[in-house]
């Protein structure tokens, strides 16, 4: 992917409405994002971190939402679940954007 921003790669079994608060969180921080839907159960790290900023969000079919960076060797930087409250998902999106912007995270 060549466009700038945060890549969001999502399993096609997820209903987009359920995760839209993440998009709003990213938008509120003024960061562009690119959504890609794949026919996959498990969204591997390589699928969402292979972009210009090497940062992205992967959403697997089991509802696990993970933010990671290509060179960040741990399993994830931030983790959330699709069942979480709207507020938590919004904050997740905001924090994903804030990591890209180099700002401290919101609670």
């Amino acid at each position: 992917m060549l466009k700038i921003g945060i890549d969001i790669v999502c399993s096609n079994s997820i209903n987009i409405i359920e995760i839209e608060e993440i998009f709003f969180g990213i938008e509120e921080e003024g960061v562009p994002y690119i959504l890609k839907i794949l026919k996959k159960e498990k969204i591997e790290k390589e699928l969402y971190t292979d972009n210009r900023f090497e940062i992205g969000i992967g959403i697997s079919s089991d509802g696990e939402i993970v933010l990671n960076k290509k060179k960040y060797l741990k399993e994830y930087i931030l983790k959330e679940n699709i069942k979480s409250s709207q507020k938590k998902l919004r904050t997740f999106g905001q924090n994903a954007a804030r990591i890209l912007k180099g700002l401290s995270l919101k609670k």
């Binding site: 709003f24 509120e28 003024g30 930087i77 931030l78 924090n95 804030r98 990591i99 180099g102």
Partner: protein
């Protein structure tokens, strides 16, 4: 050959030095340090003394029975108490403002209009003549808000700006047909009056508001006369540096900066009783005190300062049993500072830096307390205890063990509660002084100016260098150097200002830049340590001139500070003084001067 322990009970730490001594020579065996338990010079010190001695004996493979003598310092028990007196406050009545600074306000520019609830927009007639600022509480989501605003715009309603309760400013703005400035995250939105004139300003990214942070800007917006403009000065001051802000003006609006009568200080000398108002500021207070031969200082009854000074005397009375009338405040250090205070009448919990005076006072008591303490220690430990010479004299004796020193010499001993100074001329004549204000005062200034609640965090800010976490793998120190990490850093500290405390990164959770924290830390140290070093040298000089001294050694806990010695050295170099940190016995650094001096005892120095 006997084994002697010198014990220096300080305000913060108790230091011990142990040496073998015979008529021919003294051989120092080691030293230790433990937190002072209780108020300096009181029975509660015994626990700390015992711990410090036992710690060292264990290290030296010795037992209490091996000790022949303990010599304690004849420390005039002192309390250095510190306090803060706010002398101004900003009160906003009727006229209101939101000096709010959300992370992501929406749009940019200035909007001026009458406040209206978003639900009332539908009641307006098409093409209404008035300009409006819309208020939307947290019940509505951004999609609804954007829809209503777009619909109203299409009906010819002039919406010039919006104030939102939720963090949705950008989301609303992105969905508007015509962009307007939007301030969001306003908690107390229900307090905003409706139907009044209101001005919103949002600056573009990287800039700060210019119109409403300038009194004449507000005057232009609200069409104020010169009298009214004067009244909005504190309001505009409170908005300086914000990226967004709101000013709401009601017909009866009034903003004022009030000078709080913080009370008078009374300085008793052997001839007269002088007074000076706290609200006159530190400079005037210190000027007055420096010209007087202080016998006692007390504060005006019924005021904060009166209460604080009385409290100090009461504490001393409680611990020493001495008659309260015999307890005198011998010195005081006043420092001008700014303290963030909540603005009365603000709408979103705004703070403004108000003028304040920081005070440190020092109380002295009689010598017999130490004899009493010596007896208590003797009973507790079963070792002979004697009271050594005056603390400052002992300190200079210890300081003279620093390689490369000699008489004449002056030392500055900066501890937690007091700054002591002592000089010795080439004939061995000495002069010494105890002054109020040292490490604890600096911590208080840092704590108050940064508006942090935790005293320990302020103490750490004083002691450890700052850094900014730049990525998950590196931090940049305040001096620009960069450190990298193999393991990723925690998200809890990502992009935050941190303290580097013995390798641990401690986040400083306040919205103040690293540069500002550093500036406050350094200024606080300068105000106390540098001011007191000069004050102390002037007091012990026979001619009251700092230039009398050629060499000055800095000792005491605060000399371990990573920037204080350099600050003092630099400021004294202007007077032609060579100043530097002590290195007691060539091994201890600036600590252990008094304990070492006590062991040396009557040895000629």
């Amino acid at each position: 050959m006997e084994i002697i322990a010198g014990v220096d009970i300080g305000n913060a730490t108790t230091e011990v030095a142990i040496a073998k001594k015979d008529e021919m020579k003294i051989e120092f065996m080691g030293s230790s340090l433990y937190k002072t338990t209780g108020l300096k010079g009181t029975e509660e010190n015994i626990e700390g003394i015992k711990k410090a001695i036992l710690l060292l004996l264990e290290k030296l493979n010795l037992k209490l029975e091996n000790l022949d003598l303990i010599r304690i310092n004849e420390a005039t028990p002192v309390i250095g108490d510190v306090s803060m007196e706010t002398i101004t406050e900003t009160i906003i009545t009727e006229s209101t403002m939101i000096g709010h600074n959300p992370d992501t306000p929406g749009g940019c520019g200035i909007g001026l209009g009458i406040t209206i609830d978003i639900d009332d927009l539908q009641n307006l007639l098409e093409n209404d003549e008035e300009n409006y600022i819309v208020i939307a509480n947290g019940n509505k989501n951004f999609l609804e808000i954007a829809k209503i605003l777009n619909f109203s715009r299409n009906r010819g309603i002039k919406v010039m700006g919006a104030i939102l309760q939720k963090d949705d400013g950008v989301l609303v703005n992105n969905r508007l047909l015509v962009k307007i400035p939007i301030v969001d995250e306003v908690q107390l939105i229900e307090k905003i009056p409706l139907g009044v004139k209101c001005c919103i300003e949002v600056a573009s990214k990287g800039r700060v508001i210019e119109k409403i942070s300038n009194p004449y800007g507000i005057a232009t917006v609200f069409n104020l006369n010169s009298e009214e403009t004067k009244k909005v000065v504190p309001l505009s001051k409170a908005l300086i540096g914000n990226r967004s802000g709101v000013v709401i003006k009601t017909p009866q609006g009034d903003v004022k900066e009030k000078i709080i009568p913080a009370g008078n200080l009374y300085i008793k000398t052997n001839k007269s009783l002088e007074s000076v108002g706290i609200q006159e500021g530190a400079e005037k207070i210190m000027k007055k005190i420096s010209f007087l031969d202080v016998e006692d200082i007390f504060g005006e009854d019924g005021t904060n300062v009166g209460g604080m000074l009385k409290n100090v005397k009461n504490t001393m009375h409680k611990f020493t049993g001495e008659n309260i009338d015999d307890i005198k405040i011998k010195d005081l250090l006043a420092v001008d500072t700014f303290v963030p205070q909540k603005i009365k009448g603000g709408l979103a919990g705004e703070f403004m830096c108000e003028n304040a005076v920081g005070l440190a006072v020092m109380v002295g008591t009689e010598k017999n307390q130490m004899n009493h303490l010596a007896n208590m220690i003797k009973n507790e430990l079963g070792v002979n205890v004697e009271v050594g010479g005056v603390e400052a004299d002992m300190a200079i004796k210890g300081a003279l063990t620093t390689p490369g020193t000699g008489k004449p010499l002056a030392i500055i001993d900066i501890g937690a509660g007091s700054t002591d100074a002592c000089s010795i001329d080439k004939y061995g004549r000495r002069s010494h002084i105890h002054l109020a204000g040292a490490g604890n005062m600096v911590t208080l200034l840092i704590q108050k100016e940064l508006g942090i609640e935790d005293f320990n965090l302020a103490e750490d800010i004083k002691k450890y260098p700052l850094a900014k976490v730049e990525s998950f793998f590196n931090i940049r120190y305040e001096d620009g150097t960069v450190e990298f990490f193999n393991e990723p850093l925690s998200t809890d500290i990502f992009a935050k200002n941190v303290l580097v405390k013995n390798g641990e990164l401690v986040p400083i959770d306040i919205k103040i830049s690293l540069e500002k924290i550093r500036q406050i830390r350094r200024e606080s140290k300068r105000k106390v340590f540098v001011t007191n070093s000069k004050r102390a040298l002037r007091k012990i000089s026979l001619t009251k001139d700092i230039r009398d001294f050629e060499f000055v050694i800095i000792v005491g806990g605060s000399a371990l500070d990573f920037e204080v010695p350099e600050m003092i050295t630099e400021s004294l170099s202007k007077y032609g003084i060579v100043a530097g940190c002590g290195n007691i016995r060539g091994v201890e650094g600036p600590r252990n001067a008094v304990a070492t001096g006590l062991v040396l005892g009557d040895e000629e120095c």
